[in-house]
């Protein structure tokens, strides 16, 4: 489509959004989304050469507030340990962008958005998305900033999938990529867990086929159960055992009922209950689906190495020993394909008992690895401590 696109960038309580009015984003499912809006946050300054931008891709239930307080929950940014002035992702040196994925519920176009024809919110009329669609939407934002090539695309879990998708489909725009605790395809087991979550949401009487926006109710029970099931997959057995064991919750003995006798039950219920306050059930359906459909090899004739053929991108792949959702074996597959493609790749398995969630936590080995990788990539890119391409005296 060659219709004129007008861009309107606005600042609001949720950060910033840019509306691509008139733009039609072609989707993998065959349809297109009109008037794409993308909510984002930026940290640091884009240098004159526009070579110091890092795109942070968020995981399933995260948002654009990677390094600043979430205005709704009041919680600190989810990667505040990593991103900031003088930190590993140094905002004195890099221009950091994090945007809410399309299909999400933190300000970007998603199932809660109003349809262009004015007939109310999309609900489940929203088209089914893919990781490729999310990345395509991000390219609009990157174009909006006038950035030809990102210094780095970085993310964990679904964010790592996006980093891999970026590197595979826009290799010339990605100088380096850091997929953490990710995979080039969603495994059968992971699809299975997502399906449990989706069925819990759909079975909730308040779901109403996704049209619950018209009522005062929300499918809280269903979304809560979905979160409870998913939350287990983010932790390791060791963590659960150490943190909760078989400890009882505020009682001396079991109640011979179905109350939350065990601490782990109480913990999961709390996780479910707080999650529904900050996340939209339809978005949960759409984003989990996008992850399920992700299969980079299938997009390249079944040959994963072909997805990275001739790539110049520098890769740093990381996994965690206790992550059973995106186990090391998945990262090894990615690394083997990258090696077969002759790519410049580093791969580290981090010793951790924190499970999949380790990528969000204070993991010194992960931080040291990322630090070393980014510094050497920055040197190769000609970036100095101040983020500009000029010579630094004390680097």
């Amino acid at each position: 489509m060659n219709r004129p696109v007008s861009k309107a960038q606005t600042k609001n309580d949720l950060g910033e959004t840019v509306l691509f009015k008139g733009a039609a984003l072609k989707l993998d499912c065959g349809t297109a989304l009109e008037d794409i809006e993308i909510a984002f946050r930026t940290y640091g300054q884009l240098n004159a050469e526009k070579t110091n931008a890092i795109l942070i891709c968020h995981a399933l239930t995260m948002d654009q507030h990677a390094a600043s307080e979430n205005p709704l929950s009041g919680k600190p940014g989810w990667w505040i340990d990593l991103i900031g002035a003088g930190k590993i992702i140094d905002t004195d040196k890099y221009f950091v962008i994090c945007s809410n994925v399309i299909g999400g519920c933190a300000g970007s176009t998603g199932p809660q958005s109003l349809k262009p024809d004015g007939s109310g919110p999309y609900g489940t009329d929203f088209p089914v998305l893919t990781i490729g669609d999310m990345v395509r939407a991000q390219t609009l934002l990157i174009d909006h900033f006038g950035i030809d090539s990102l210094f780095c695309v970085l993310g964990g879990s679904m964010g790592g999938m996006q980093a891999l998708e970026w590197a595979a489909t826009h290799p010339e725009r990605v100088f380096s990529a850091v997929p953490i605790a990710a995979s080039t395809r969603h495994s059968s087991q992971n699809i299975a867990f997502h399906e449990v979550g989706r069925q819990a949401i759909i079975a909730d009487p308040h779901f109403l086929g996704g049209r619950y926006y018209e009522t005062d109710e929300r499918p809280r029970k269903g979304l809560g159960v979905a979160r409870m099931a998913a939350h287990i997959t983010y932790l390791s057995e060791t963590t659960l055992q150490q943190k909760f064991g078989r400890n009882l919750q505020d009682r001396e003995a079991v109640s011979y009922g179905f109350d939350a006798d065990f601490q782990i039950e109480s913990y999961l219920r709390h996780q479910g209950m707080t999650f529904v306050e900050r996340f939209d059930a339809n978005s949960y359906l759409y984003i989990t689906r996008a992850m399920d459909y992700f299969d980079l090899a299938a997009d390249h004739g079944g040959n994963l190495a072909a997805a990275f053929e001739g790539t110049k991108t520098r890769f740093c792949v990381m996994s965690f020993t206790s992550d059973w959702l995106f186990p090391t074996s998945e990262s090894v597959q990615t690394v083997r394909a990258l090696n077969a493609a002759g790519a410049n790749v580093s791969f580290v398995e981090i010793e951790s008992d924190k499970g999949h969630d380790a990528f969000l936590l204070d993991e010194p080995e992960m931080h040291a690895t990322l630090d070393g990788f980014l510094k050497s990539a920055a040197q190769a890119r000609g970036l100095t401590a101040s983020g500009s391409a000029k010579e630094a005296k004390d680097d």
Partner: protein, 212 residues
Amino acid sequence: MIDPKAAAHGNLASSRIDLQLIANRVEPGTKVLDIGCGDGALLDLLVSDRQVDARGLELSQKGVNACVTRGLSVVQGNADTDLSYYPDNGFDTVILSQTLQATQKPLEVLSEMARIGERLIVSIPNFGHWRVRLDLLLNGRMPITGSLAASWYETANIHLCTLRDFTDLVDQIGLRVESCITLSNGRASEIAGKPSARHNLLAQQGVFVLSR
């Protein structure tokens, strides 16, 4: 296979003379794969001295982390199982430094190296050194030397050989010995072609430059 570097070298790791010898034999600006790269000492040297596009493969997580933290492109993997994932002729030079003796299948590893790269640089401890021979002859026990410091039951070095054994294997695979540097008490001497019986008796280590 446990960390072969630690087992094979112990306190010698920091002062390995073969690293500089190997680095001197790598063409500047070429693409190099170092198999069993340890903490990245050789890779670092290659990058700073020879400006090569250097990649590494290392078994131990500690080694890999050390490499990546210092900005080297290294992946965690096993020489016995992971070389098959590298493309034909992907590298100009493939290096295997003090690692062959710790692999499960030295013949396969060398063959894979020859498929991946045009030139091979392989350094090995020489089990034909006179001290090793004498030790076995006089004491009737498996030799323990400075560079082979672990007891037979706990050493990671499961495929020890002499310089002669090694050149036999090289012949069998159909590779050519371009040159060999022998090391004895820190002194290096370069020979064109294969080492002689005398070298096999006097060298503690051999660094071989091989081609297809």
